[in-house]
Subunit: 570 residues, 2 copies
């Protein structure tokens, strides 16, 4: 049951957290953008502590990471602390596809859920617009240079860019699940209708601009990053940036409002900042630096979630977000469920939307123990970054006391600072009371973040270091990958951190290797540069950046009722 009756005007929530009125830009009654200039005004205030929420290897059953991020923020409020959750904005594609929204749920949900899951304040649309402006500019330039030939400079006063039509790396984006747009040919009309070439659309969350929005420290930093984006290469093999195409300023202008985080509230009126939503494979999978910084100046505790398991979003939090912005976490909360660990045993091949095997829902400590190895791996992985790890067992009704007792013991034995059952879905903040106390203690424990590689380590060694953290014997780099490394070195971008694009469904790069894979290699097909976001994408397998719609998509159920209310959205 959703308690929408408890929603307060967002201006009251802002007031309660001492956000001065001039920084609060309401968007309707229940959402406000917080002007990032608040960071300057608040710069001398003491800072809160950041809690990073991650998870075991994800399964189609769902682990409840967002629910627990929101629930823990409610829990900290419940025990008398100030707390703010910082989460990512959901994409429209999955909302109308199969996954549904990402507002949490039950008593640990962001309200109004419809607002969060639909346009919110238009940040994702702004990214789509800015991204596709660069695409339009690129194709227009290609066309005019081709059309005018040697006369181009004389007629336009511009230097030729000599874009290599086969090396345009900037695809278009749209915020939908639309498989027919994965691979397209543009400019097929001939004549005045542009230059024909192969192109494709990715979902907007995959745009480098999404990662930039999440990593930028302010508007000027965002402007500089956008200028550095590599859109294409010229016929000499040199990068062509958004700056060179003279489109970086206009792209930034389109994101001028998007850079301000969005304030909403939970069922229990705990403030939530929603900002950016980069993927945790081809990007770093964390909400924005600006949202974290604002929250850290307003609350005792800031709870943020990283995408997928600890091998994905959490790793990237440390290696990319912390490295770039110095945002320091004070402890890690690792979310697991009894069912998901059983699924992680590797004994079942569970597919989304299909029936769940009976054994998984019945009490079975032996099965759980097998799957718990995955939990132990993630505890150990998180600890390797130098922080205390608290395991939150997201309780489901069919979990037996025996199973929960086993897991609590198991987690401590395998290095967790604490392990606590979380019942935030049904109880809200009260359901995270004990968890919140453990978190406070863990935050107070001495810690020092350890990074697995220094910036100046050669790229090949960075890659080998990272795959060994997954438990791999080694990485096998293709010819193409080795060539890419040389190009990156030549551009003097090899100091950038890695962003390893691999499946989230295994600790390894092979989705079929469940539990804790051993004795495997990781094949690296190629590398690519996100020069604006500031990382090197390392591809260990195909990454789907444009989902498709199934035969029973969510949009079929979504409508307005006779009173004009939205129905069918979840």
């Amino acid at each position: 049951m959703r308690i929408t009756m408890s929603l307060r005007p967002i201006t009251e929530i802002a007031e309660q957290y001492n956000i001065p009125e001039q920084y609060v830009l309401p968007y309707g009654k229940h959402v406000a953008k917080i002007d990032l200039s608040i960071l300057k005004s608040n710069q001398n205030k003491p800072k809160g502590k950041l809690i990073l929420v991650t998870a075991i290897t994800p399964t189609p059953l769902g682990e409840g990471k967002t629910v627990n991020t929101i629930g823990l923020s409610e829990g900290l409020n419940y025990i008398g602390k100030t707390a703010i959750a910082c989460i990512r904005q959901p994409s429209l594609g999955p909302v109308f596809g199969v996954k549904g929204g990402a507002a949490g749920g039950g008593q640990a949900e962001v309200l109004p859920m419809e607002t969060l899951n639909l346009h919110l304040t238009g940040d994702i649309h702004a990214i789509t617009a800015a991204h596709d402006l660069a695409s339009a500019a690129l194709d227009a330039r290609l066309y005019h240079e081709e059309r005018l030939g040697d006369e181009f400079t004389a007629q336009t006063g511009l230097q030729r860019l000599n874009i290599d039509v086969n090396r345009i790396v900037w695809k278009r984006v749209i915020d939908h699940n639309d498989r027919a747009l994965r691979h397209i040919n543009v400019g097929v009309g001939g004549g005045v209708n542009g230059i024909e070439r192969r192109d494709g659309f990715e979902i907007t969350a995959a745009s480098e601009l999404m990662a930039i929005l999440a990593l930028a420290s302010d508007l000027h930093d965002m402007r500089a990053r956008i200028g550095r984006i590599i859109l294409a290469y010229n016929t000499q093999g040199e990068p062509i940036t958004a700056e060179q195409l003279e489109v970086a300023g206009a792209m930034t202008v389109l994101l001028k409002n998007a850079i301000n985080p969005n304030l909403m509230q939970t069922v229990e009126q705990t403030p939530v900042l929603i900002h950016a939503g980069p993927f945790a494979n081809i990007a770093h999978g964390n909400s924005s630096v600006i949202a974290d910084r604002i929250a850290l100046q307003l609350a005792d505790y800031v709870i943020t979630e990283a995408g997928f398991g600890s091998d994905m979003g959490m790793e990237k939090f440390f290696n990319i977000k912390y490295r770039q912005a110095g945002i320091k976490a004070s402890c890690v909360v690792l979310v697991a469920t009894v069912r998901s660990l059983k699924s992680n045993s590797g004994k079942y091949n569970i597919k989304p939307g299909q029936a769940i095997p009976k054994e998984i829902s019945e009490s079975n400590v032996e099965l759980l123990e097998i799957g718990a190895a995955n939990l132990a791996w993630h505890i150990n992985n998180a600890k390797s970054y130098g922080l205390q790890v608290i395991v939150a067992i997201n309780r489901f009704p069919h979990d037996s006391d025996e199973e929960l007792a086993f897991l609590q013991k198991y987690a401590i034995e395998h290095g967790a600072f604490a392990c606590e059952v979380s019942e935030v879905f049904t109880q809200g903040g009260k359901g995270a009371e004990k968890l919140a106390h453990h978190v406070i203690k863990a935050c107070d424990a001495p810690s020092e973040i350890k990074l697995p590689y220094p910036d100046n380590m050669p790229l090949i060694d960075k890659i080998q270091t990272m795959v060994k953290k997954y438990g791999a014997n080694k990485a096998n780099l293709s010819e193409k990958a080795l060539e890419n490394i040389k190009e990156i070195q030549a551009l003097k971008l090899d100091h950038l951190p890695l962003c390893i694009a691999k499946t989230p469904m295994s600790i390894s790069a092979d989705a079929n290797l469940k539990n804790v894979p051993t004795d495997f290699d990781v094949d690296i097909s190629h590398l690519a540069i996100s020069a604006g976001a500031g990382f090197i994408r390392v591809y260990a397998g195909n990454v789907m950046t444009m989902p498709g719609l199934g035969t029973n998509p969510a949009y079929r159920q979504i409508d307005i009722d006779k009173d004009g209310n939205i129905v069918g959205l979840s």
Copy 2:
């Protein structure tokens, strides 16, 4: 000079016009959405009078229709009346392309201009999202029906739609000038990447959803209209609607906020409602019914503009908007400039961005008199709809007193109720003082709207009636057009009004025929159905629905300055 210092909080503007607080949804400090439910609360209030602003045949010199719409609203306020301007929302494409924004200018501008010209409250983005959701749904259905073949119904529980891949009439949309997307092939990846077919993108303003947003009377009417949209035809030649694809509800949900008009203010703090922006060729070219209705319940006078010349947006105001929604205008204001009339003489071939011939900027009554025939035609055309016509001469610095005196006399002699010089660009409301008094008198004069054809007139006769209004001898319908008429009759949609898609640059359908063309025919290539918007598009020539970017696009100059302010936007 822009007087941004005079901007008031939008909540104060709303309060001054007695908009109850519960209907005011602020989006930042200077924009608010007005909840359309205000219409129910206000339904017994006396209604204001609507003034429809149109223009002579447009020229690349610009006539100043938006400036005068805004300036006249300021003028009516200046003389002590309450007045609200209702205008269309600018597209992003032209903002970054060549045309620039559409906020008016000088002392007759909507502020903040940057907000109006960029995302505003996201309505256009919402239309893009809703439109392209239908495209994704259509291609997904095509793919799954093909993939599953005879098993489709058994596996999905859905009836086959049997979409004819060659008769998908719903193109995709994007809010950019992007010629490379005019003609594309989608689904070229093969296998799981969809079914290959020819497709294309139009600019979002060309979406039927934009026309629907402008014509819907409430959320339920919008839902029903979206359900009626014809997306494609099946292999039997029968239409496939958004309702049949089960996507109409989700599309409506995406437009749930967009249906509420946007309130802003002018330099002189006169309220402006900005809502929808359909083209005036393939759509009806007027801002929304809902905005007009709200404004008519709040102010003595509501000033709205229709796209292009009186043969385009004004004609469609009467034949489509008035016919469907009963929104009655009380008089017509026809905007002209001395220079534009000289250009309309037909003696020059002026191209956008090129130097203006010297003669046009020098006092020359003979040249003006030739071009003034175009003004006379538009006066007569507007009067034929049963209303008084007031000519507003939008003054430019180089206009001579002799020229202005000539025009005032000429306009009255050719049937205008009044003709007044407007100096709103430099003087704001004061510059429209006399114009405002004339407008009030014209609104009080007895009038009765006359439509050129009844709903039940056969389509061919409607077409012949309309082209004769342009001065044509007759319309020549192609085989295809005649076939389309039969199809429309078979679907029992021939009662719908026409939406004639022709060039705006001539009263005829040939852009080369300047001034007042005579002795010409109009060729009709084909007809198409906008079943949701509720009109039949009649194509008299090619209509460009996806602009391109030139060699010196506006985006090159757009950036943020060192203080983070937007520069280069106009």
